[in-house]
């Protein structure tokens, strides 16, 4: 039986969120928590593969207790089971510590039901790193296939998978052995409006909730802030884009104005070294 695990995260909606102008950090109270949009595509792809090949879809996430809501969203999309690992000792984790903790959760899930395929979203919209997926693959010592925008087929007897990886000028077709890890682009699928029976299932669903103590062979030093070598030295909000400038007058005058504006931007015409 094909067992697919999708890794997801609950994130603040960065389209709405406001920055604290004093500390330059995100004011999380100003934005609702949502399922990371890329992860919805990861779950949807897992569900589609289950529909094609049979099997089971589990989702796993690390986060505070309200992250249960994000898991329920995945049940709406069609996932079968959800696992939340939550513990104060996980707090403050960077991508290194996060991938360690999530790997431990996947190992635990694997003990009961071996995992054939892991699917992650391309990245989270609050961190934008895209590192956790490959980090999990490295720790589990399985191939990471990033930038996937199509899963062509899975061969369960040969234990192989064929995917398209997005490139700048097209795509490449890659075959990998199973188990492996995919991180998918948004273009991999469209997440449809969830059918009503899924909504009912999600409304009633209670995810598995694990603390550090429920996981096996955990090195506490590799968790949370302690296990996070990343140092944020400075955070700043990007400068607000400036509005355009309107040129007025008849076409002749406008062209003249435009020329003088362009000529003022001297750096456009200076050749740089190596260019």
């Amino acid at each position: 039986m094909l067992h697919i695990v999708a890794c997801i995260k609950q994130v603040p909606d960065t389209k709405i969120i406001k920055m604290n102008p004093k500390t330059n950090t995100m004011d999380r109270r100003t934005a609702p928590a949502i399922l990371n949009p890329y992860d919805a595509h990861a779950v949807e792809e897992a569900v589609r593969l289950r529909e094609r090949y049979g099997g089971k879809v589990s989702v796993v996430t690390m986060g505070p207790p309200p992250a249960v809501k994000a898991i329920k969203k995945c049940i709406e999309i069609g996932a079968d089971e959800g696992y939340l690992i939550t513990d104060r000792r996980f707090a403050g984790a960077d991508t290194l510590a996060t991938s360690y903790a999530v790997t431990k959760a996947i190992e635990k899930i694997s003990k009961e039901n071996p995992v054939d395929l892991i699917i992650c979203g391309k990245m989270t919209i609050d961190g934008d790193t895209g590192q956790v997926g490959p980090g999990i693959a490295r720790r589990l010592d399985i191939p990471p296939l990033t930038s996937v925008n199509k899963v062509v087929e899975i061969n369960q007897t040969e234990r192989t998978i064929v995917v398209h990886r997005k490139l700048e000028d097209g795509y490449e077709v890659v075959q990998s052995t199973l188990p492996c890890l995919l991180s998918v682009e948004k273009t991999v699928n469209e997440v449809p409006y969830a059918p009503f029976p899924n909504m009912l299932k999600a409304a009633r669903y209670k995810p598995h909730v694990w603390s550090v103590d429920d996981l096996d062979d955990v090195d506490i030093k590799q968790l949370g802030l302690k296990g996070s070598p990343t140092i944020v030295s400075k955070v700043w909000a990007p400068p607000k884009p400036q509005g355009g400038e309107m040129l007025e007058g008849n076409p002749q005058q406008q062209v003249e104005q435009l020329l003088s504006v362009l000529l003022d931007k001297k750096e456009l015409f200076q050749s740089k070294e190596g260019v």
Binding site: P192, Y193, A194, P195, F196, P197, M199, L200, A203, R204
Partner: protein, 431 residues
């Protein structure tokens, strides 16, 4: 076949949540459907929650519910363009348990209340729109949602889908409401420092004030404005009959801007920052606009059944009580295994003989009367202001002279008769 519930409640507002809560508590298998992202996300109310009717459902809810401030003072402002006659009551008995009423922000409160219903065992599904009732042999047997495989069945469907209740309308229970049967309310939540609020409104911590605005707040159109204190924000709004807005060609947001800039109001809200903007219809047709509220396998509650007492700005409490009574009836019907109209009609009789029905009947002519005679708002309130100004301005003339002048200002003998007649009429419709 899709799953079948004992009851489906459409709409997670105060009526729907109350109903689902009581049903689940009574052991029924109940599905609560909400179109918004979460309960409260689409719900609007000026912000006064009445303690008694809420306590009928969850005793001592104020110990844990997300409330803003217990109301210790209620003020009423009769406004003219640059003046106001104000009266009110403030009492410390309202500042302690069990309190009288509270200001609330619906987005927070409804979520909490819905969670309580879920704790009792109700199944809550959000982001799902009910398109129509499924009717078989003249009996409502379920609802059709906008989702794939979206049909779901139940012994009883409770329509708590709010003011327009397209579902009750499609069952033929009521006609589309006319502009003089609904009010349009617009409001803003204005962020303001807690300390500033307490200073400006003369409050201590965990005390709140409500101010109802009459007269010039609505530019003389039938309706009221309000200014309520939350923890660290103010709710300000204005609601008028839709017909009045149409007649005076005023856009609702213009009216709200006007109130916000009124010299009697501006100092209260100065320096605040708009946080939310909301607008909603309020059913104000009263008793005479109420349609059918019970059918085979279906009950209508809350705003969907026009249960609003416009004169006393009460609505959520009527909604909650109707929800609770619907649930009690459905539990009895479940026991009897009978979901026919004649069985469910017990809800209507209980509702109409209780305070909800009594108040609806008491004020059955009120909205229509004040709508028909707009001079209460555009003539008499300014007259009252002028009289107060006249009386309290110290200018050397005797008080007798002042009274004579006020009396003369009312107009001719005919005008005085008209005033007396109007006062009597107003008394009659609300007595």
């Amino acid at each position: 076949m899709s799953e079948k519930f004992d009851c489906i409640v459409v709409g997670a507002g105060p009526a729907g949540i109350s109903c689902a809560y009581e049903l689940a508590k009574g052991g029924a298998n109940v599905l609560l459907l909400e179109r918004g992202e979460y309960p409260g996300s689409k719900n609007v109310m000026g912000g006064v929650l009445y303690r008694k009717m809420m306590e009928d459902i969850i005793p001592e809810f104020y110990k844990e519910a997300p409330l803003e401030r217990p109301v210790v003072e209620q003020r009423f402002m009769m406004m003219d363009k640059e003046s106001a006659v104000t009266f009110g009551y403030k009492g410390m008995e309202w500042s302690k348990e069990p309190y009288n009423n509270f200001t609330v922000l619906r987005a927070k409160f409804d979520q909490w209340f819905a969670d309580k219903a879920v704790e009792q065992g109700a199944v809550l599904v959000n982001e799902t729109v009910v398109l129509e009732c499924i009717v078989e042999n003249g009996k409502v047997v379920g609802v059709r949602t906008d989702r794939p495989n979206g049909d779901v069945y139940a012994d009883v469907v409770v329509l708590a889908d709010g003011v327009n209740s397209l579902l009750a309308q499609s069952l033929g229970f009521h006609k589309e409401y006319k502009p003089d049967e609904v009010a349009l309310a617009t409001m803003e939540v204005l962020k303001l420092d807690k300390k500033i609020i307490e200073d400006r409104f003369n409050l201590e911590e965990n005390q709140g004030c409500t101010i109802e605005l009459f007269g010039d707040a609505t530019k003389g159109i039938l309706g009221t404005g309000f200014l309520y204190t939350n923890k660290d924000s103010l709710s300000i709004g204005v609601g008028t009959l839709l017909s009045g807005l149409i007649k005076h060609k005023i856009k609702p947001y213009e009216l709200l801007e006007y109130v916000k800039n009124h010299p009697m109001i501006r100092p209260y809200i100065q320096g605040s920052e708009p946080q939310e903007y909301l607008a909603h219809l309020i059913p104000e047709g009263g008793f005479k606009s109420m349609g059918k509220i019970v059918g085979d396998g279906v009950i209508v509650i809350g705003d969907a059944s026009q249960l609003v007492n416009a004169i006393h700005r009460e609505g959520s409490n009527l909604a909650m009580t109707s929800g609770r009574m619907a649930a009690e009836t459905i539990l009895l019907a479940k026991e009897a295994g009978d979901f026919s109209e004649s069985m469910l009609d017990l809800y209507r009789t209980r509702l109409m003989s209780g305070f909800v029905g009594q108040d609806m009947q008491k004020y059955k002519d009120a909205t229509h009367h004040f709508d028909k005679f707009p001079h209460y708002f555009d003539e008499y309130i300014p007259m009252l202001n002028k009289a107060a100004s006249q009386m309290f301005t110290v200018d050397g003339s005797s008080k007798w002279d002042k009274q004579k002048k006020i009396w003369k200002d009312i107009g001719s003998g005919k005008d005085k008769m008209k005033l007396a007649r109007d006062m009597y009429r107003a008394w009659k419709v609300i007595k």
